[in-house]
Symmetry: C2
Subunit: 149 residues, 2 copies
C-alpha cells in the first residue's frame, strides 16, 4: 500500500453546524452540502456531505456520524473526542496564539498554548463535534510561506 491519503472524513452530529464552523468560522472554501440525492440501499447510508479541497489538494469531508457508521458497517456510538488530532503548522509563536483566538471566536473550545518539552509551542482547539486540531509552531520545521499560513 502506498503511504498516502487523499481524504479526511470527519463524523459530525449536525452537517449545517459543522459546515458553518469550517466555512464561515475558519474560512475554508466549500461549495456547501452536496449529494443529498443519494442513499445506499445496501447499507442505508445517505450521501450528503460537505467537501473542502484544502490548499495541498487533500480533501476534507464532513459527513453525518450516522451515515459514516452505516457506510463503514460499524455500530453508531455517541460522539467523543480523543481518537485523533489534526496538526496545523504555523510560522511563529504569535501565529499559534492568533489562530487559537480566531478558532475560539468561531465557536471552538481551546487550550492555552505552551512550550512542550519535545520542542514545539502548541495549543489545541476542538471543533463543534469535539474533533481536535493542534496548532503548532515547530522551530525545527517552519512551513514555507506557500506551505504554512
Amino acid at each position: 500500500m502506498e503511504s498516502r491519503l487523499h481524504v479526511i472524513t470527519l463524523a459530525v452530529g449536525d452537517l449545517d453546524r459543522a459546515l458553518a464552523f469550517y466555512r464561515d468560522g475558519l474560512g475554508f472554501n466549500s461549495e456547501g452540502i452536496i449529494g443529498i440525492e443519494w442513499s445506499d440501499e445496501r447499507t442505508g447510508a445517505n450521501g450528503a456531505v460537505a467537501l473542502f479541497t484544502l490548499d495541498d489538494g487533500l480533501m476534507l469531508s464532513l459527513y453525518p456520524r450516522r451515515d459514516l457508521a452505516m457506510d463503514a458497517e460499524i455500530d453508531l456510538s455517541p460522539a467523543h473526542g480523543g481518537e485523533f488530532s489534526l496538526g496545523h503548522l504555523v510560522q511563529s509563536r504569535d501565529d499559534v496564539d492568533r489562530l487559537l483566538r480566531e478558532a475560539e471566536a468561531a465557536g471552538a473550545t481551546v487550550t492555552q498554548a505552551h512550550d512542550r518539552p519535545w520542542g514545539i509551542y502548541s495549543g489545541y482547539f476542538r471543533d463543534p463535534d469535539g474533533h481536535l486540531w493542534e496548532v503548532i509552531w515547530n522551530p525545527g520545521r517552519v512551513p514555507s510561506p506557500r506551505e504554512g499560513d
Copy 2:
C-alpha cells in the same frame, strides 16, 4: 486560517502494536518510536510517538490515547471508531479489492467493497485501534501514478 493540515495523529492503545500494523503490515516507512525521553510536566503527557512521513509530505503520527487526552486536556475515553475516516484513492476496482485483502492479511477488519450510488467503488478497513480507512476507486478522480498506488 489557511485551509491546510500537516499532521494526522491517531490515538492508539498500544504503540508497538500500531507501529507494527502500519510499518510491517501496510509497509509505511517509519524510524520507529521516538521521543520516549520527553514528558510534559504541565499536562502529564509523554512524548513517545511513531511518525511516518507519507508520500505527499503529510505526517502520520501514532500517539498513545492517554497521552493525546492529557496533551489536549480532555477526558480519557474508551476507544471507539466512527469519529473519522481516512480515504485512500486507488486506480482501479481491482486495486480496491487487492488492498483490502492486504490490509486484512495485516490484521485489519474489512468490509466487502461495493459500488455506492454517489459514484465510487469502495470498502473500509479498520486498523487495530478501530480507526477507519476507506479504499476508494473513483472513476471521476483517478489519481495519477505519482499520486495513487
